[in-house]
């Protein structure tokens, strides 16, 4: 069974802190994605990666960066956390075969105080 694991289910940080959200997949998937999910706005794509060390901006990349040093790990970085980055963050993996489903982790609920 496929598995996407996010390092923390809940996280509380302070404004201005640098925050790291980690995601690991055991499916050998080429593609990995970071979304945030907010009430009324749905899932919005922040960044994605289609290969090691490759990254592409999604729809809302401002204030975020990512790192993919190994195929199985995709990290989301909040360079200087702000209160408007309080959200549910979801990581997903997907095979690079076209028309494939995405497999999600259970999310990290991040609160910035």
């Amino acid at each position: 069974d496929v598995k996407v694991t996010q390092s923390s289910r809940y996280l509380v940080k302070r404004t201005g802190e640098k925050v790291f959200l980690e995601c690991v997949q055991d499916m050998d998937h080429e593609n990995m994605f970071w979304y945030r999910q907010d009430p009324g706005l749905g899932l919005r794509l922040i960044y994605f990666s289609y290969d090691v060390k490759m990254k592409e901006k999604g729809d809302i990349p401002e204030g975020y960066s990512v790192s993919r040093e190994k195929k199985e790990r995709f990290s989301l970085i909040l360079e200087s956390a702000s209160t408007n980055q309080t959200s549910m963050y979801l990581c997903a993996g997907m095979r690079d075969r076209g028309s494939q489903p995405q497999h999600f982790g259970d999310g990290t609920r991040l609160s910035i105080l």
Binding site: G40, G42, F48, L90, A92, Q100, Q102, F104
Partner: protein
């Protein structure tokens, strides 16, 4: 601009009835459309994928239709059960491997 619309109001139905959820999209010509289920505090789970050249797809009690003329997909759950209560998301290809998600419709199946 591209838009995916799902009914934001919760859908309440009685156990045993068929639930029908709607997904409308504009300014897309997606090659395929996907449906996901999301439970509170969990990540979305993939249910079904339907391609643009398929009119209908079934999996157990689930049925999805895809009308590229109306730019609409319908998601049906027959013989619904309380365990089917969840939020259901539709998603379309936005280009390449990216998916764009709707905001989801919450389904409540009552005894």
């Amino acid at each position: 601009s591209q838009k995916i619309e799902q009914n934001s109001e919760a859908l309440n139905i009685q156990e045993g009835k068929t639930a029908t959820l709607t997904c409308n999209y504009t300014n897309y010509s997606p090659a395929y459309l996907q449906w996901y289920r999301q439970d509170p505090g969990r990540g979305p789970v993939f249910l079904l994928l339907i391609r643009e050249n398929e009119k209908e797809k079934r999996k157990e009690r689930l049925k999805v239709t895809f009308d590229t003329t109306l730019k609409q997909s319908l998601f049906h759950i027959t013989a619904s059960q309380p365990a089917d209560s969840a939020t259901y998301l539709c998603a379309v290809t936005g280009g390449g491997n990216k998916l764009t998600f709707g905001t989801g419709t919450q389904l409540k199946v009552e005894l």
